[in-house]
Amino acid sequence: MELFNFIGIQVLNALWLSALLFMLAVGLSVEFGLLDVLNLAHCTLYMLGAYIGYTVAQIAGSYWVALVVAPIAVTIIGALLYWGLLSRLRGNHLIQALITFGLLFVGYDATRLIWGVEQFRMAVPDLLSATVPVFDQTYPIYRFFVLGVGLLTVLCLYLGLERTRLGAVVRAGVDDREMAATLGINIDRAFFTVFCIGTALAGIAGVLAAPIRSVEPGMDVEILIPALVVVVIGGPGSLKGAVLGAVLIGTAETFGPVLVPDFASFIMYALMALVLLLRPQGLLPVKPAH
């Protein structure tokens, strides 16, 4: 029974972490799979979401205001970045990787300049500050909330992709960009919208993470690699892949430190290397391998 409870708690931990990873990775994945942009600075936007969310919550005194304002602010920053920089570099992965790598440094120091080097932790909103008894323990409701937002995002993205016009354009674009453009579809506008959605999700993920993980400079690089691993494992541009990858990495990152503490982060990299070498298109690729 004790073992069962222990596993139950770990499963819950794995699930909310997976939800957070998904929210981040799905943006990265779609940028990479659809827009052909390798954006290492995606997680800088997540960090900005956490910081801006923290500040807004301080000023407005409400978590919910932060959850709305911060993603909007992050989306504006992301849109400027896309319009000014990333859209001009499409197709050249090395230059993209390098430029966005440079942006990591800029983002790191910009946050240090604005917010200093202290660690912050956002207050959990009153509505969600309670705990519930599960598996013989008390578990914060807030983490269920994170999980819920993650699941809602999966559902919305799935419906959006399958049922809306934008979703159809996106699917067409992933499948064959030139053909879609030839058919008179405004691919660029659709891409821009998709980029903004991905960025907004990164901002939301930042606010969601702020009460759980400490808000500090460098929190972006810390989660960048797991998010990249999710994208690679699932298959770039694949929604199902991002879900599968997030669950796998969330599980590995939760159970790893408990079961094999010395190999925990090793597992993630080994998984990524294995997938890249054996199935470079990812586990659930958008296009079937020819």
Binding site: L94, I99, G102, F105, V106, Y108, V232, F263, Y269, M272
Partner: protein
């Protein structure tokens, strides 16, 4: 057909001569910088050999620096081997790891190559930062430098050590200078330009890539052993992907595919770091912005741009010289 670079020799003389002279006469503060520049130059040259000549864009080359450093630390500190022999073994370990990992990673290309090299190097980092023997992510101090007192060289003297590192960097430069001009280097350039053409000529493309990877890994491991000799402290940071990224920065800023470029890039990177650091704590934001500006405005790098400027001027006098 080799191009003649009228700029290369004067620039190299200036850079290496400057490092050497600074090593001879400068005070303790600049000595540490000269040492760091010399060691990182070796690492950057190995990265440029892969990125600029073999067309293998690695985002994980620091992993091999880690292999060299950790092999040296283990053999000299725990196994009781003489330091000199351990350095050689560290280089051999780098070469061996390079063959093994090169054989795996050269199966993918493009952005997947970037990712898989990143993953593999971070596997090493993850192991090193959890290894109880090497002090996990605190690192482990108390390493010894090589004892060359028998031939009258005291490496524990910072000045002597700095000069030895500068000489090592110059030798590695010569090694790559010779290598890229050798038939091996020419074939690598051919693979970078058009892999299928080389394959159609019946040459084993993957073996050449693995060989290039192994050479670059051995040199990176050598840089790692020198790094450990310098700091006398083994720390997982040496293998972190940020280090790999920094090496790409100096290569691209200096000019990939030119051996002079990484030397310029490393020099500027460290000097810029120290100068800006003395004004403001936030040196990274300026470095990042400058780097982005250079990549956008001169993707061929500082030396690449300089060279094309001088060549344009020289072009009319060299009638119809093919640019190849």
């Amino acid at each position: 057909m080799q191009r003649r670079d009228p700029l290369a020799l004067p620039l190299l003389a200036l850079l290496f001569g400057g490092l050497f002279a600074t090593g001879l006469y400068a005070g303790a503060y600049w000595l540490t910088i000269v040492t760091e520049i010399a060691i990182f130059t070796i690492f950057a040259l190995s990265v440029d050999f892969l990125v600029g000549y073999a067309g293998l864009v690695t985002f994980g080359h620091a992993g091999f620096m880690g292999v060299g450093a950790y092999a040296l630390a283990y053999l000299s500190h725990f196994a009781g081997w003489p330091v000199g022999l351990s350095i050689l073994a560290g280089i051999a370990a780098g070469a061996l790891a390079g063959i093994l990992i090169g054989w795996l990673v050269t199966r993918v290309s493009g952005v997947f190559f970037i990712m898989v090299t990143l993953a593999v190097s971070m596997m090493f980092w993850a192991w090193a930062s959890r290894s109880p023997v090497f002090g996990r992510d605190d690192g482990l101090g108390g390493m010894k430098r090589m004892n060359l007192r028998a031939i009258g060289i005291d490496l524990n003297d910072p000045r002597t050590f700095a000069i030895v590192c500068v000489i090592a960097a110059a030798l590695i430069y010569l090694l790559f200078w010779w290598l890229v001009r050798s038939p091996f280097g020419q074939i690598l350039k051919g693979i970078k330009q058009n892999e299928n053409r080389i394959r159609a000529q019946g040459l084993p493309v993957q073996s050449y890539k693995v060989a290039a990877f192994a050479v670059a890994s051995a040199v990176a491991a050598f840089a790692g052993t020198l790094h450990l000799q310098n700091t006398k402290f083994v720390h997982p940071e040496v293998a972190h992907w940020i280090k790999s990224g920094e090496s790409l920065i100096v290569v691209i800023v200096g000019g990939a595919g030119t051996l002079v470029g990484p030397v310029i890039g490393t020099f500027l990177f460290f000097v810029f770091h120290r100068v800006v650091e003395s004004f403001t704590q936030n040196w990274q934001i300026w470095m990042g912005l400058l780097f982005i500006a250079i990549v956008l405005m001169a993707p061929e790098g500082i030396y690449g741009r300089l060279r094309s400027l001088t060549r344009k001027r020289a072009a009319p006098s060299r009638e119809g010289a093919p640019d190849a």
